[in-house]
Point group: C2
Chain length 229, copies 2
């Protein structure tokens, strides 16, 4: 772990660094929704002082990632499926408008890079390297937002994604979903290369909605017809 080493190298990690560390743990499903985040544990694992840990928890609470109850401490906040629906609707709006702007105003180099990433993801699907797909997928979406020069939207989407990341993790091990996503990407890229903003936006919205639909079905299978829990 490069990051963990970096934390220990200095005399102590800052509040922001501790917050990022907790975020990473949540994204990696090491902290799951409902779990209590005991201050002492985090102090032991990060090397930060109690003061800074509390600072970090306050920031995360403002982000809506954890919830703090009086005298009971911080919990990882879990999103209900209805909230997930709302999150994906927001993503559809934000990433949709980005796709449209990208198609109409992005540089030729950025568009070329988008094609290359999509090609690489196609190779992943055929070669069966799901973890690599997740990485490429993140880069692909990021490029689409950065290409429009809108860091505000990029930041908003990053926040929206974190609460459901533990679900996305599962997603990337379903080859059928990967294949679907690759097709979605292909359609978006096509519209982008044609410079057709509205088409790119519509395609991106369908892509996000498909992702939500998949997650929704997955949840229903686990909770109503599943075998565990």
């Amino acid at each position: 772990m490069n990051k963990a080493a970096d934390l220990l190298a200095r005399k102590g990690p800052s509040g922001v660094e501790i917050a990022d560390w907790i975020r990473t743990q949540i994204r990696a499903s090491r902290f799951v929704p409902g779990q209590r985040l005991v201050e002492v544990d985090i102090i032991r694992q990060t090397g930060g002082s109690r003061f800074k840990v509390r600072e970090a928890l306050q920031r995360l609470a403002a982000d809506g990632l954890v919830e703090i109850e009086e005298f009971r401490g911080a919990f990882v906040r879990g999103a209900s499926m209805d909230e997930v629906r709302q999150l994906y609707r927001a993503r559809a709006a934000l990433e949709g408008i980005c796709a449209g702007d990208f198609a109409e105003r992005a540089s030729a180099e950025d568009k070329q890079k988008l094609v290359e990433l999509a090609d690489a993801m196609d190779d992943c699907v055929n070669g069966g390297a799901p973890e690599k797909f997740g990485q490429l997928n993140a880069e692909w979406h990021k490029l689409l937002m950065q290409g429009t020069g809108n860091v505000v939207i990029e930041d908003l989407v990053k926040r929206l994604n974190t609460p459901v990341h533990h679900l996305l993790f599962e997603t990337f091990y379903r080859s059928d979903r990967l294949r679907e996503a690759a097709v979605d990407h292909r359609l978006i890229v096509q519209a982008v290369l044609a410079g057709d903003g509205p088409a790119a936006e519509a395609a991106m919205r369908r892509h996000i909605e498909n992702g939500h639909q998949f997650l929704s079905d997955l949840d229903r299978a686990v909770h109503h017809g599943g075998s565990h829990n």
Copy 2:
């Protein structure tokens, strides 16, 4: 001040309450971008302990509303005009999708309420009551988002609005802008009543873009051709 009295009634305001108080001050232009937020001053004005004030500042920093520099404290973060552009683009996406959803799925009562608010705003424009217009305008936008049952988007838009609220304040004293906004609203309501989602979304986007354009022109006039500062 009802809120200020509420703060003093109890033995001490919580961190969240202090954060809200600071937010209110910023929205009312009592704290302006670049201004230092000295802890002691906030303690005196809110009656909170230093610990809780720091808590509040951490939360606001996570929201991006203030910036904290080491050993220099918290500043109100000002948005550059480029960032304002990005904020409005995000709002156009989010409120646009809400307008579309509202047109297609909102209840008849909510749609009726939307018409009534638009009517009241028309009366404001003719009667010349700008402050009331601002209040009604906020309610109108809020209703549009709540009617779709998406509190996530409502929360995001609230955050996006805060940094530019001191500019919006000025806006509501220009009767020409009010008249324009009323016309925009009328067009959106028309599409909503027709149940035409795409038309409502397009109209809402134009409305937001118009607002941005107005703000942009205002800023250019003040900074490049203005008389003061």
